[in-house]
Assembly symmetry: C2
Homo-oligomer: 346 residues x 2
DNA sequence: CTGTTAGCGCGTTCAC
DNA sequence: GTGAACGCGCTAACAG
């Protein structure tokens, strides 16, 4: 199977549609029709053609087809990280919604850098995707320009940008975090700490921190117990290290809120390891409703953001826009339901 | 940006290379050369061309280019699940190794079904990838046939198949599990239990179970404490439920080995919730060295399999085969280092 | 260093 | 229901 030399076991040349046509005794065009679902071809001809295809091991060359049909069948999606279960849930939602549409997903990850996003968008655009799904609402000017002159539908997700490129399926990270903080304040917590990554790159993370500070200011509570630790996405390990710093600096902290469940889990485990009771000695809350938060001991209080639905709905919107079936009664901005999940840790 | 109607703000038509050429006062071919890295074009011409590209917002159409160059720049990779951090680490290893090679990743997931793998392989082959990375060594006959007549390099990963399609980067799941069981037997454990998914689909899971049984048989220890629970990949939640069944049925079980760290974590947390001490009352071990296993409390004993390296090396092999730089001193099978990571849980 | 010609493998369009 | 001519946007091969 390797490229080198001529010892290849099979076809020196991939068969083309012309080979199939010759073998089936028809024209290329008839083969093309037999391969498309709407093709008007007689039953017998179709049978002959499929037999020829099997014998030759022919596989349609879609890139050639898309050159003349002007439809590549690609959809591009760009996520910050593929190793974060929130975003891989979104990716799964996209793939599932695209199933049976003939649209294929081209996935890329930015590692939380909008400069990398720009490069990726350009690389994807060279493949002429029929639509693009982006994570977040912050992009470089050039990204916006590239996308806008591509003339294809775009869906921004995981955020509600003030100046959307096209469509949006997301939620306000600031409001979602505010909801959590308010709920915890109602439960009686007063000395709040916040753990997040160094915020330059992770826009969603800094929006959450803003929500945290906003509510505490509104409630007249101190909002200065902030620990920034490590490059986003902040890991389980870093969550553990950050909570240690937090408690060293502000030992009487009531409740520690983490930018994501992963860091919350790290913080929780580190506290347990040090013999601290959660939530009695210190309460902990996270964000994102990762599976690990639902089954840790104690279970972690968090904010659920329906990651899979974000992906699924973004893909449905893209599909409808591509197929020209966009529902005009739907606005171009779709808000995802956010809810605080109260569990044992806070 | 949407498709409907003529209210599109910009270009009714995407600019082509001919438009750029006209604007820069050169031929298409010169534009094409200026866009390729090896192109021999004078500095001034190149400047003019890039200026024209910027003004028009032109983006190269790679699908058209690949039709004539016979190089699509695609590599296909197929994993069981994108939401499993082991496989997403592998995917990240692939992407990273492909960076700056001009090769782009086409990713698909099978949901642990080789029938879905077959469909995916065919869909990918329509895009004419220059190489394919597969997970596991079990495939349908048709998948093998399709791949073999495609005449492109193939790398199977996460397994060491007895009859490889082409190249292999993996390890024996059976041996890896055997290593863990033997190590735990050395530490004095005698009454072993095993938790895995229903095994029809997850080949790697059943290979691990085989390794478990093989060692216990060799050591003359009972190997009948098996709990199969839920469709693979068995989740954190299912790990918790399974350990409850295990201890209800065989209360004196020494150590519970789980098919993956996720289920081990679920089992661990469920035990703690029920007031059981780990490892004093029951020990727990996992497989895969997920991050959650390294930072839980107690930390989980597991088997490290270098997922990222599997992906990276598979991609390097593919890249070398595609570029015709395959190192002949390397065999076609590359074993990944496996090691037991002893921690607190067992 | 640059231009010309030809053609990649298919689908569109029109003919029959 | 089927076929022929043409062209999609680009690059290979050669010429200058």
């Amino acid at each position: 199977m390797s490229e080198n030399s001529s010892d290849r076991p099979q076809d020196p040349q991939q068969p083309t549609m012309a080979d199939v046509a010759r073998r089936a005794g028809v024209s290329k065009m008839t083969v093309s029709r037999a391969l498309r679902h709407n093709g008007a071809v007689s039953a017998e001809t179709r049978r002959n053609i499929h037999a020829a295809i099997e014998e030759l091991g022919y596989v349609l060359d879609q890139s050639a087809g898309s050159l003349s049909s002007k439809r590549t069948g690609f959809v591009a999606a760009i996520v910050p990280s593929i190793n974060n279960s929130n975003f891989s849930d979104t990716a799964r939602g996209i793939t599932d919604a695209l199933e049976d549409t003939g649209l294929q997903l081209l996935l890329g990850y930015t590692d939380y850098a909008i400069e990398r996003e720009e490069k990726l968008v350009e690389a994807m655009l060279r493949r002429r995707p029929e639509g693009v799904i982006l994570t977040g609402g912050s992009h470089t000017p050039r990204t916006r320009k590239l996308l806008s002159s591509a003339g294809i539908p775009v869906v921004e997700t995981w955020d509600v940008p003030s100046d959307p490129i096209d469509q949006v399926v997301g939620f306000s990270n600031e409001d979602a975090m505010a909801l959590l903080v308010r709920k915890l304040a109602e439960k009686g917590y007063r000395r709040f700490g916040y753990i997040g990554g160094t915020t330059e790159r992770d826009t969603r993370g800094s929006q959450r921190r803003t929500g945290f500070q906003r509510v505490l200011n509104e409630l007249g509570l101190p909002a200065d117990r902030l620990i920034s630790f490590g490059a986003p996405p902040i890991s389980i390990e870093q969550g553990g290290q950050a909570v240690v710093s937090m408690l060293a600096r502000w030992p009487d902290t009531d409740v520690v809120i983490c930018v994501s469940d992963l860091s919350a889990f790290g913080a929780l485990m580190e506290c347990r390891r040090r013999g601290l009771r959660v939530p009695e000695d210190v309460a902990i809350a996270g964000f994102g409703n990762f599976e690990v938060a639902a089954y840790s001991h104690p279970r972690i209080t968090t904010v659920d953001v329906e990651c899979y639905e974000i992906g699924r709905r973004a893909a449905v919107r893209l599909r409808d826009a591509i197929l020209g079936q966009r529902d005009p009664s739907l606005g171009s901005i779709e808000l995802i339901r956010i809810r605080v999940v109260e569990r044992e840790s806070a």
